[in-house]
Symmetry: D2
Subunit: 418 residues, 4 copies
């Protein structure tokens, strides 16, 4: 522990990713687990004076009723990423965090999310919802005397908004403000409101989901204006990670991919939401686009399926079949089966992103953080999908970092005056 | 065709890799096949003025009786990389090349190879064998009026020589010369004699096999002295390629690989030789070392099996099972099945290496060619196994290349005076 | 050759299954291929005096333009079940059969089939279409002086008719006759008309597809009345075969299947038709029902996907993931990847069915042939899906067969007077 | 509970299979788990009046120090078949059983087992060892007032004895007696001594391992003489079970298996012992022979590998690759990956065998129990390996069973006078 107090505000606090991240941070701080799975553990990141697990203070917003210790226990019971012993060993810390979980905003999230909402607040206008979020963030920061506060979206995937419509109200800050003020205005999705509120509150923002979040031009402008860094979108944890690792091999070896079929089966709430086609659309698009971006072959056939298989619980199995052509037209194939625990893969990346976003904020960086592309299926502002190159960008950033500012600098002040 | 005449001398001329490379080059030159599978087709290699398929003139040494057109036909019949139509369409060209295939030297190759040799010549001393190879190369160069000549080892894997013994006679050129001159001297393997002869004849040398080739300090010194570039060893075509693509992902994501089990089944002559443990040893070591080099975790368990399954013919199926640990100790797995045609994967790489070795020679480079590491399981002189980084080295080399020397420069002269 | 002349009338003559069966029968008769893949080759079937490949005379109906030798050549070129040499070696025989291929009836087949029809005849009423088929069969029988004639449906899968509607007009022969006579009557699918016509012409009938065929009560009554044997439906060739082999293991070992996910990718015309949901419905239902029938666990989750992947050509790859629970709640899994050539698997079964249907007819059996259940995904009239038990039924039938009637018995006469 | 007291004497009491079986029986008796994985749960076995889990009384012999509750806890901690809650819930019952675990006999077990033995007793002659076992069994029966006592071998696989030698001393009871009496006699393996002692003590005997056990003619004669039923050998739990389910499919469909390659990786003590080639030999032979027996094709290539991969703990992953030829020579493949928990698969079968062996004994059957073939890789006395047919034999036995003898019949008396 460095003495700093870095807040982490989860949109979707009782979900698996947030719960595993919070429980895991406590376990790491207490020496109950090593840093396996954390990209920023070890060299060259150790020299960056990143926030330590023990520096992190967790809170968030949630549309479902619950308790953090129960959520952790439930993950343990379903065979998820938190072992039972560990769930028990950190339950005291988790229980103390529920006071910082407020009712969520499910404004514009689509039917599958809204009908599951048990404790969300309804608002007359998008602006009213955004203001509520801003005041929640301010209260958390004050109550916990935080030096900085990072907002991370790990909520269920929203239905994609109509692209034409969002292109209109999301084009610039003024139009967004105007649209959000009208009581009968367009349905601006909650993920946009959270991102917007975070920026207005001077908080770095990370969108780990395929939802819209900070991706619209309007919010990119707000981030620059408010001086906050932000990044997204859609965490790259399993099958898509493999795609961005394997596809460059085919490209470099000039092996022509004829077909790349991906079939994902999973059993958690994420899977349940994704059976709704309008929620799956964004995710499927991101998972497929990485291939097209890397391989640049318009003749390639590809498809991604995501099916809900309840018995798998927190686990995902992905089978990918890659049919390719080599020298003299010889057709060959590669298939892989990935059996991963989604929250075990996602949670440490969320902690990495919190650490790196806080560092960027501390160093006065604002706007997009392209060096974090390696964490996302659909990195904002960039077209580099090759994982190895993305990783090179992160390592270069880490190597080129200026001397970290002295701890004495009053971070809270600056964060409090957005 | 650029008008240059670049010779390619295959050690193991009638083997699958050499035959597929020769037949493929003819097919490419005649427009019967696209450049799929050739790393050096397309950008940024197009700017390098590399030898064109039509520039290449093939010859070599072989211990088995045969004909190149029959070898191509046989590959086609077994479902290998050469389609039947293509085998027929290039048979005239292949038939014309047999005059440049001489009897091979199987000196020191180990029992599995020596007992299969039908037309190899026996010698009193290693020096006598080396001299014979030198004169074969000189005759090929003169007969075919070659501008340059690249020697490529694609013969069956030799038995590994005793390491202590080879460390003694392979330590420097003088000791090698002394050992080779003695009628009752140590068994210097044929791959070393071919590499040595190539260097003395001023020919760039590439070792695509796990055999010793040019890897000993003595020959590295000879290459510098004679001004020839060389590289090896053991072409990276399938399962090991995937290892060097996937292992960095686990490293960067700090996912701890507990076990990596690789099981290869294949049905060609390569597989038949590798059932002899002393021949398999070098290959298995190379396939396994890449993991240890990249992951640097002494606690990791790994094993590679290669089994001969006759019905698979020229095809190899590899199943790899990777057991790894993530956040909070969660254990997950990845398994893949690779179904590839070995000669279809190897042959274009051999053509790439010929092109790039000739370029290096043309540019006056000598000694190891570390920028070719991406082609080898066990790249000489370097420890970089991460395929993406190796590829970066090659692309940097291609980007930084000086203006190619004018074609008018009399390449033959220089090559003829080693 | 036994001297008999057994006609085989394919509905869908130029499709892959019919073409492979016809070309294969010629190849078998000429000694160009062994009986691999034919269930009825070898004991105990040798004693049954089944029709020999050389006894078979092929004809059929087709909605696409074409030629049988070209169809065989095209299968060879796409890497299907007929090797190129064999396609060439049997092309003379195939060319001679085109005279017995008539324009097909695509009445009621659904949009995906009807829009691809190039040479189908349109009719005012279903009865008119049926009569046309009857006269086609009679002409084939006379022209080729056949001793018996078996009709086999291997056409593309039709759209499923509305179940309520077909339950009405398909309930008994009178209602079927009434509905078929009306010019503006219900759309009775072509597969029903072919089955009906076959029965009226005294021909054994086999439905190798998921289309309705002879499954309605009306036609089951007609078959008994006309004294012809018939069977269906939906040939069991690959993934579903494995399901009916593996599911009994889980049942007998009391291992509880939690989820069984099947993902099929294929590239032939069959796959193209099945992307139309109304055509896929029947097939998916059959593929899934076998599991429910064998395992009888209403809590089991299962799903079947069929996706079209053009590069696979005649090949199908199926990946099945089976999640199951054992002692003390331990959860385990089995996954398999099946890589099969659909026409290579289906064609010999079609020849088996022709042989066994002709035998049943010869022996005076009529109505359903339950001993042929092992050949079908959805065997008519029975609920036994366990492949091993189905096979037991066939072997019992073969063992209990009466002495075959003397060849002298005038089969043609009887077949000609339905 | 039926009021009977049926003893189960495990050779290898603290091993995973015995521990999981004992803990599982307690859990079943207490209603903590359903009968999943038990072949004899449900119909038609319910009518047979088999011993209930609560009737079973456990004891055994063991060469390692330990406690049954610790062994169960250790399985739970390694992610084996016993959940942690269950291990805790049955620990009281397990603790009470240690008094019935005696020092094991490792006489003739081979180096890998003998060097791991911590509490085995050494004897001057095989007869002395056998007598010790007999008195252990008698003491257990008396102490626990057992109505019957079944001896089950679940110890680590012994080194295979020299076949020629064992053919000599194992040929008949007299030779066995003579050999066993000599202080310097041949090394008769412990598994033989346990089987012999069990028979002499009037106990049904089951050999769940590949060790010699009761397979020699001498012991088959003893069993008949002593009136006890026995069966073996080598429990069929995972990969081999699948082989005997899948191979008949290939046979019936006349698909010619060219190669069947099986690769097993596992991490438990069983795996550790099997790295010793002399211990693996028997297991590998059994796993391979089933294929040869079912497929009867001398040209088929097959191989089985078992590799020890520590990180897998109690879990086994098996990858099988089956290359086969169909109609017109088309080559296709099936591959499967089985991920099973060995003890979860084996333990319920052990309970099934105890129940069925006790029933047979109760009904006065003696000698081999061929109806139990479905439980074994290498069923004694029979050549039927097809799982479905084996299962048919068991179901026929269950259906044909005479009215079970009344419970009042004094089983203990009879068991006590062998």
């Amino acid at each position: 522990m460095s003495g700093r107090r870095i807040g982490v505000w989860f949109v979707g606090a009782y979900g698996q990713v947030a719960t595993t991240a919070a429980a895991g941070a406590v376990a790491l701080a207490r020496g109950l687990a090593p840093g396996t799975g954390l990209v920023t553990s070890g060299e060259p990141f150790d020299a960056l004076n990143l926030a330590e697990p023990g520096d992190l203070v967790f809170g968030g917003a949630e549309v479902a009723r619950g308790r953090w210790d129960h959520a952790a226990q439930s993950i343990a019971n379903r065979g998820g990423a938190i072992p039972r012993d560990m769930a028990a060993a950190v339950s005291d810390a988790l229980a103390g965090m529920d006071a910082d979980v407020t009712d969520g905003v499910s404004f514009g999230c689509g039917e599958a999310v809204e009908t599951r909402a048990e404790r969300s607040v309804r608002f007359d206008s998008a602006c009213a919802a955004r203001e509520r979020i801003e005041s929640d963030l301010a209260r958390f920061r004050d109550r916990r005397r935080l030096d900085d506060l990072v907002v991370v979206n790990v909520a269920s995937t929203e239905a994609m908004p109509d692209e034409e419509e969002s292109a209109s109200w999301g084009a610039d800050p003024d139009r967004l403000e105007a649209a959000a003020s009208k009581p009968e205005g367009p349905r601006i999705p909650a993920s946009v409101l959270y991102a917007w509120a975070a920026m207005r509150a001077g908080c770095p923002y990370v969108n780990f989901t395929p939802s819209t979040g900070s991706s619209l031009p309007a919010l990119q402008a707000v981030a620059l204006g408010r001086g906050v860094p932000h990044m997204g979108q859609d965490g790259k944890t399993g099958e898509t990670l493999l795609k961005t690792v394997l596809a460059p091999m085919f490209l470099h070896r000039r092996l022509r991919v004829l077909s790349w079929e991906g079939h994902n089966i999973l059993g958690n709430g994420d899977g349940e939401v994704l059976v709704h086609p309008e929620h799956a659309r964004a995710k499927l698009r991101n998972k497929d686009e990485v291939l097209r971006s890397i391989l640049r072959d318009p003749g390639m056939h590809s498809r991604v399926r995501i099916d809900y298989v309840p018995s798998l619980g927190d686990w995902k199995t992905a089978w990918d079949f890659i049919h390719f052509e080599g020298f003299l037209g010889t057709r060959m194939s590669l298939q892989f089966t990935w059996q991963g625990c989604d929250s075990a893969l996602a949670a440490p990346l969320v902690l990495d992103l919190v650490r790196l976003a806080q560092l960027a904020h501390h160093r006065g960086e604002k706007g997009l953080m392209p060096h974090l592309a390696c964490f996302f299926k659909s990195p904002l502002g960039g077209t580099e999908h090759d994982f190895s190159r993305q990783m090179g960008m992160l390592l270069n950033y880490a190597a080129s970092t200026p001397q970290a500012a002295p701890l004495a600098q009053p971070r809270r002040q600056r964060a409090a005056t957005p």
